[in-house]
């Protein structure tokens, strides 16, 4: 409009200077104001008209609706002026509360029985607030709890399973029981000896190293509730390690994340975890070391049951395969 106003001003001046030339005179002046067409611009109906941001104008509304339906993220929601729409804001608040409530959830009474745990211990973190504020306390069992574990659990087993609440007890309460049940069968099938399941309250991932070392387990699996995100509080991860030892680092671990109803189902996850552990023991390592094995033939062998994995992927919802979490190497990475 600024430009038009400037040019209107020019026209104004021209008329004033030219005197009473009448319409003829002004028409002669007009073509000088017209710039030539841009090359390639078709006359009359120019292509590539600007698309407007609000409301969204998808080129393919059906595909757009599919994308929106494929995720609980709020995408293509448009705007009202320079801010979010009320519905978007309300859903955001609701999604945030789902995350907050998941962080503040506790494991239900009698959960030990549900997962068939031999015993239940608590890390050095006291209440939930201390657990959230002091990650270091959640990585270690106090001495008496550790001696309980040693005295009551089988040692020297192939697989030691820990179930910890992590940052979402709700996720563990929902997904650990079916996982553990399926995992027992998967281990039996593969001839893996499974140790006693230990329930750890106020647990961070690394506590698996301490317990695994104390019990001299060959591998360890730690089921923990994932840090909730907007609208999600039900994701569980399985952290896996070969030879759990206190000196282990996150790069020694691998993880299968997004174990939940919309992601990898617990039963499917149990099968994949068992496959991974068999592979760990075969190659004698886990984590980045294993995935970055220099020998390509070795690396090819390190991909267990490729055909079955592809079948599994077909049955796994879009975002549910595997992802990186807390520095551990994601299970899927070695396929990339």
């Amino acid at each position: 409009m600024q430009d038009l106003r400037r040019r209107l001003g020019e026209a104004d001046q021209r008329v004033a200077q030219g005197g009473a030339n009448g319409p003829q005179g002004s028409l002669r002046a007009a073509p000088q104001l017209v710039r030539p067409l841009l090359p390639g611009t078709p006359s009359g109906a120019p292509a590539g008209w600007p698309r407007l941001a609000a409301p969204p104008q998808p080129e393919d509304p059906q595909r757009f609706a599919q994308l929106q339906a494929a995720t609980i993220c709020q995408i293509g929601v448009g705007r009202a002026g320079v801010r979010q729409r009320t519905a978007t804001q309300l859903k955001w608040l609701g999604d945030r509360m789902i995350a907050v409530e998941a962080v503040r959830s506790e494991l239900p009474q009698g959960f030990e029985q549900q997962i068939g745990a031999a015993l239940s211990v608590q890390t050095r973190a006291g209440d939930l607030d201390e657990f959230l504020l002091r990650p270091d306390l959640g990585r270690e069992l106090p001495a008496d709890a550790l001696s309980q574990v040693v005295s009551r659990c089988a040692s020297g087993v192939d697989v030691q399973v820990l179930v910890g609440d992590g940052l979402s007890a709700r996720a563990v309460a929902m997904n650990a029981p079916p996982f553990v049940q399926a995992f027992r069968a998967e281990c039996q099938q593969r001839g893996l000896s499974l140790g006693d399941v230990v329930l750890v309250r106020r647990a961070r991932v690394k506590v698996m190293d301490q317990v695994g070392e104390a019990l001299r387990a060959r591998t360890a699996v730690h089921l923990v509730g994932e840090r909730p995100g907007l609208g999600t509080g039900d994701g569980m991860s399985a952290y896996l390690i070969f030879e759990p030892r206190n000196v282990a680092m996150d790069s020694d671990r691998e993880v299968l994340s997004n174990i939940h109803a919309r992601g990898t189902r617990p039963e499917e996850a149990a099968r994949r975890v068992a496959d991974m552990l068999v592979e760990f023991m075969r190659v004698g390592m886990s984590g980045v070391k294993r995935q970055a094995a220099p020998d390509p033939a070795e690396r090819a062998r390190a991909q267990p049951e490729r055909r079955r994995d592809r079948v599994a992927e077909r049955h796994t919802p879009r975002w549910g395969s595997a992802g990186s979490f807390a520095g551990a190497a994601p299970v899927g990475a070695h396929r990339a």
Partner: protein, 217 residues
């Protein structure tokens, strides 16, 4: 000459949740547009453009927009002006943002211009760079198309639109023949953005010449 004549917003009101029977009387539905924003203004064409601007800035529709008979100089009341516009949306916040965009457009963009020395001749040589859903519906063009929105009194409109069509590579999309509610006339033209601007300039220039010398015989 060619000075902007700023439109005056006369009254605005929100209806957060309009009654179904009142909506139905206007051919609307409470499911689609329960929340309304009403605005009156003393320049009908400036408000049409501003209402369209609102559809670009917020998820609202122009659910009602009509010029009132005889124009702002003969209004039915001090707040009637020459147009009533209504934006409809799904929430009060949506129509509030829509109306805010509408008022911004009236304050800073769309307006009539004087086309003679004493300012008694008013013309509307406006270019919309990219039309929203309302002007798309009114013009039959696609959302995002450039539009030259050219309005003047009847004879001046003929002369101006003639000059615009001859001076620029544009086509006539819709014509407004007199008499209209306000007895103005004009046309929607489209083409590339720069051709629309050239058309608007030619339109204004031709009418300035008419104002300068009304009679040639």
């Amino acid at each position: 000459m060619l000075d902007p004549i700023r439109p005056k917003v006369l009254a605005t009101r929100f209806i957060p949740n309009a009654p179904e029977e009142l909506l139905a009387a206007y051919g609307l539905s409470g499911d689609a547009h329960p929340s309304l924003a009403l605005i009156t203004c003393d320049q009908d064409d400036a408000l049409y453009v501003a209402l369209d601007e609102a559809t670009k800035q917020a998820p609202v529709d122009v659910v009602f927009a009509r010029s009132l008979y005889a124009g702002a100089a003969h209004a039915s009341g001090p707040l009637s002006g020459e147009i009533l516009g209504i934006l409809g949306g799904q929430s009060p916040a949506d129509v509030r943002e829509g109306l805010a965009a509408c008022v911004r457009c009236l304050e800073h963009d769309a307006c009539f211009y004087t086309a003679n020395a004493d300012g008694s001749l008013a013309i509307f040589p406006h270019v919309v760079h990219a039309i929203g859903s309302y002007l798309a519906r009114e013009s039959g063009l696609e959302v995002g198309a450039p539009l030259a929105y050219l309005i003047a009194p009847p004879l001046e409109a003929w002369v101006g639109v003639d000059a615009a069509l001859k001076a620029a590579d544009v086509r006539l999309v819709k014509n407004f023949a007199p008499p209209t509610e306000t007895n103005f006339a004009g046309a929607y033209l489209t083409g590339s953005l720069e051709q629309c601007e050239a058309a608007a300039v030619a339109f204004a220039e031709a009418i300035v010449a008419v104002g300068h010398q009304p009679r040639v015989l």
